[in-house]
Assembly symmetry: C2
Homo-oligomer: 374 residues x 2
């Protein structure tokens, strides 16, 4: 498990607030460091997602013959320990990609826009977590459980670079649950309201939420640096820019990315994206309207058998998915599966979905994409 | 301003966390204690809503010639100060209603079911905040700005008792914004997702949220008495019982109460009710589908002119309604008003609504009903 001092406080807090239940890792046998395995690079390694890249690589025994820890000039020179080996964080430069087979990017859109094409020129396959290339027609936008076919022509060892885009966290979490139902009954319209965690705005936002909460409890005015308003004990419309049509960029990502991933320009989506004072997992209330009837029992069975999805739908004990319960977990949890009373003839369902924003919403999905390259 | 020691800690916390901006109250001239004014009683005066009844009565200079402070045997004997006069909380008995013109009830459904009819027999008009009588065909269910005509036959001084029901908090807050649009373009379907505060579950739930937050920040396991799971830094499906159709009772209140208040059995509503770690104001993401086209500019103008509604819809500075901003306020705030991309021909709108759960969601609405009786 990698850790950097700058994130110590939030990670420590999280480990208390959100008990992890990941499998114990064997330390004796470690197969991932292999001479015939790819050379990889992590761009933005000091960020929340960058750190999670390392955790997921380690958890999944992702094979590599070498790994470069890349970040901005500001973080270069820092040391971090990964799989019992010490690394020095290197400054990201064009030369960083020489000999790199796969680069995992999570350093913001402008870094991706600048260094993604440079990496491709040097033969690197970039798995990019930013929004920079998602809507580029030549770039596959992939959730491995949903549309693996979109990247079937890209493999390592072909001497050619490429970019594969990781969808936005809210899109991934929603479509993990909606796609198996879409494949059965064809979604014609989807109305989504989100409950999004601090982590989507980075480690500093998580730290700000913790700091603000302490301040408010102590009767002090809250420190508002990342967001322009109080986050502790409050919710607010997502901080992404609002576009001329009144939707914010986060909402339009869900609209446009769903169309691209489902390869259906006509799919009707509306979304309202809201931040809630939760650390690292998103929740979404999703209303689905289908072309063909789909009853809730069939839907539940479909979801129980869907890869990467777990159904938590215990009405009697009022046990349904929560952000806390999915934190640090790989699977997306779905519950509150019920026939929509406002649509006739089993044409609609309401579901409630939770997924770890840093993990399946970002790092895990990217590394699953990288695994498909091998 | 009334205060009871049992609520001191939460009230103190709230006053720090949520700066009130209510108008300063004049203390010199106090007109509400009047000999020709009604005799009133507050049932459940020690609860969160009961306390707010007193604040609102005082804020609005509600006229009364006497006021009884009623509660369960457990709270009887406590002293409280209201408008510079000391009162002793009395145990609720059938005789409590002798000579009482208006009784404001907020002591839970079972107390209302038992004592509501007793009060009516004694000639008292009951304004009931519980769900006990809301769906009773003989009982008007009233939001004064929305359907005042439903109670036009009920007045004090006619020597006849009656019950008037206060709708559920989520319904009131939603319909304050949706009704003016419904009156213009007729809502045919409404998809609602809520972000509900602790206060809906009472003062003890607010205290539990504060306590749990302190505990989690200190690395201790959270105390879970009111809810069966961690609330701090988490969200969860509303704790109301889940019915055989998969909806919980809170959601079905919104479905059924909307039909009754709008006097339209065909109105299609689906709702997903979620608790968020916020103290005292609810938020709702509301998707509206209309029979007639309604463009967003017209909708915004309609809402700007709607009584009890304030529009906060500043896209440029990303300023929209938040629970914190409406806490301790009378008006319901609406923003994120935009044409729904998923419906053709201006047939839909998305809006985001926030309202103080204790105030307009409960106490204020009840006292506005009482004002209409005068």
């Amino acid at each position: 498990m990698a850790s950097l001092s700058l994130q110590h406080s939030t990670h420590h807090f999280l480990s208390r607030a959100l008990p992890t239940r990941s499998k114990p890792k064997p330390t004796s046998i470690r197969m991932s460091l292999q001479q015939n395995a790819p050379s990889i690079a992590v761009v933005g390694v000091t960020g929340a997602v960058g750190q999670e890249f390392l955790s997921v690589l380690s958890d999944r025994d992702f094979p590599y013959r070498s790994i470069k820890m890349l970040a901005s000039n500001r973080s270069a020179g820092r040391r971090l320990t990964f799989e019992n080996k010490e690394y020095v964080v290197e400054e990201l430069t064009p030369e960083s990609f020489d000999g790199v087979d796969i680069a995992l990017f999570s350093a913001g859109g402008s870094i991706s826009k600048k260094f993604g094409p440079i990496a491709v020129e040097r033969g690197t396959i970039v798995v990019d977590n930013s929004s920079a290339f998602r809507m580029d027609e030549k770039v596959p936008l992939v959730i491995p459980e949903v549309n693996p076919e979109a990247m079937e022509n890209i493999k390592i060892g072909m001497g050619k670079g490429a970019i594969i885009a990781n969808p936005n966290c809210s899109t991934i979490i929603c479509l993990m649950a909606a796609t198996p139902l879409h494949k059965r009954a064809k979604v014609v319209r989807m109305v989504v309201s989100t409950y999004q965690a601090a982590s989507g705005a980075g480690a500093a936002a998580m730290e700000e939420l913790e700091l603000q909460t302490r301040e408010v409890l102590e009767g002090k005015p809250p420190t508002c640096k990342i967001f322009n308003q109080q986050y502790a004990f409050n919710i607010f419309s997502h901080n992404a820019s609002v576009l001329p049509n009144g939707y914010n960029e986060e909402e339009m990502k869900m609209v446009k990315e769903t169309r691209k991933i489902w390869n259906d320009k006509d799919i009707k989506v509306t979304a309202t994206c809201i931040r809630v004072p939760v650390m690292r997992a998103h929740a979404e209330s999703v209303n689905l309207q289908f072309e063909s009837p789909l009853d809730e029992d069939t839907a539940r069975d479909i979801l129980k058998n869907a890869p990467g999805v777990v159904v938590i739908d215990d009405r009697e004990s009022n046990h349904f998915p929560t952000p806390l319960e999915v934190s640090n977990k790989d699977d997306v949890a779905v519950g509150r599966i019920r026939q929509d009373l406002s649509l006739d003839g089993d044409q609609g369902l309401d579901i409630f979905v939770c997924g770890d924003q840093i993990r399946k919403g970002a790092a895990l999905n990217a590394i699953q994409i990288a695994e498909m390259l091998l």
